[in-house]
Symmetry: C2
Subunit: 307 residues, 2 copies
Amino acid sequence: MRVPMDGLPERVTIYEVGPRDGLQNEKAVVPVAAKAEFVARLVRAGLRTVETTSFVHPKWVPQLADAEELLAVLPREPGVRYPVLVPNERGLDRALAHGVTEIAVFGAATETFARRNLNRTVDESLAMFAPVVARARAEGLWVRAYVSMACGDPWEGDVPIEQVVSVATRMMDLGCSQLCLGDTIGVGTPGQVTALIEALGAAGVAPSDLGVHFHDTYGQALANTLAALRAGVTTVDASTGGIGGCPYAESATGNLPTEDLVWMLDGLGVETGADLSELVATSTWMASVLGRPSPSRVVQALAKEPS
Amino acid sequence: MRVPMDGLPERVTIYEVGPRDGLQNEKAVVPVAAKAEFVARLVRAGLRTVETTSFVHPKWVPQLADAEELLAVLPREPGVRYPVLVPNERGLDRALAHGVTEIAVFGAATETFARRNLNRTVDESLAMFAPVVARARAEGLWVRAYVSMACGDPWEGDVPIEQVVSVATRMMDLGCSQLCLGDTIGVGTPGQVTALIEALGAAGVAPSDLGVHFHDTYGQALANTLAALRAGVTTVDASTGGIGGCPYAESATGNLPTEDLVWMLDGLGVETGADLSELVATSTWMASVLGRPSPSRVVQALAKEPS
């Protein structure tokens, strides 16, 4: 039943992270042909932004070591964005060599995670991103800036909102096109999400320039998404089937499942362009590739045999 | 991190349904001593309303055929409500004989579910409840009225809001103390929940007289709860560990897990009196009794060995 709700956007852009954030944590390497099919099926299901892979060093994320191969075989549909994660200038070179037109850089709100994930201080990581963003923008690329651990850090605990705002505004000052707030360990709750978005707005980063990236580790992802939409955000990250996590944070389980998000947005009459049954069929197929069931509630409720 | 949110109540009453709605669908009968321990542990964890069992005919819910035995051995703590489901006058007799002071009657928003669950039309079921509620109130009992299939019906599909309001107001007119909106199959979304609560308010049933009962079949339970709280509701049903479902509706999976609710409310600074770690320990123990893991995300994230 479709019943709108006051204060929500008419349309939401789903930023699909399944092929990158979803797969990167998988131990068994998924064949490149299956990855290409995954992306193609997501696009066929109506998604218009699909984060495809990563040029992080293969030593750190062996699952995505085939980034070049994947980009070589992947058919591109007009009107679809296929952003690729780029950690540094070497990664940007690789992305540019493969005709990538959207990239994402991956910052951290905390010193501990910057050290563990990037082997740098927060200042050093911003210094590393500066020339990447500058060159990418000069080449006409769209650049997303992730700020991970935006709602809490497994080692530091609470992360003050002003600390997140400080890192976020510094990343936007580098010239990024969009800022994505990552609740990497899924601990955030709706009041915190609202306050963070409002604080960013006060610091000059409008909700329309934000994405939100929630993990469902504590079951909060969809409630947090609702709070973010009410605060003016119109880009929401999700992973078809709810696959994924963070290889460097043990307690981080799957992303917000795209299907659970689409169920809510369909019910609210918020347009996404996504076809729920195509997504569920894709998740059922991907579950057979990965060898275990999808954690998405919608997939569990609707899925039939692998197709 | 505690960050309040505008428009939420200061305090929420958790109406725990694990021992009744949670267990009633379990095929293997849980020993009465384990049920008594379950209720006692929930109370020890700070819950102050625990729906304990049902006087439905044992033929329909064999798991709860031991209702009398359970009530005979269950220690009662002062200040705690232990409501019992009562389907008819015979059930009320049994409840009164065992000193029950809070009961719940179980209506349906749709003709199909009334027929399948109660073997009656909606009118006939209301006629059946009328003397139960009248006698119970005359005896000084607190009476909750459930309206199931309030957000959708597996056979009828969409359920118009005015139809739910009609059944609900007729049940309240019988003299019930509280009305509980049951999304028995978990299909509702936040706009529908808000609209339903507003329509009930316009029909004379205030949000303070409501409870909400969400199943997490499509992952919507916590987002719907947030919407209900913003609409003024202060009583939320949940099941510790997320156990439970509806024996007459195949697609209905678990209730909103109490732990996932408490995580959100703790984060929002909304008081519940519940101790999250005690709840998680209880769910871990109950998972060992039932022989399968809890579907609660919080339990999955926090649970250690059975205690």
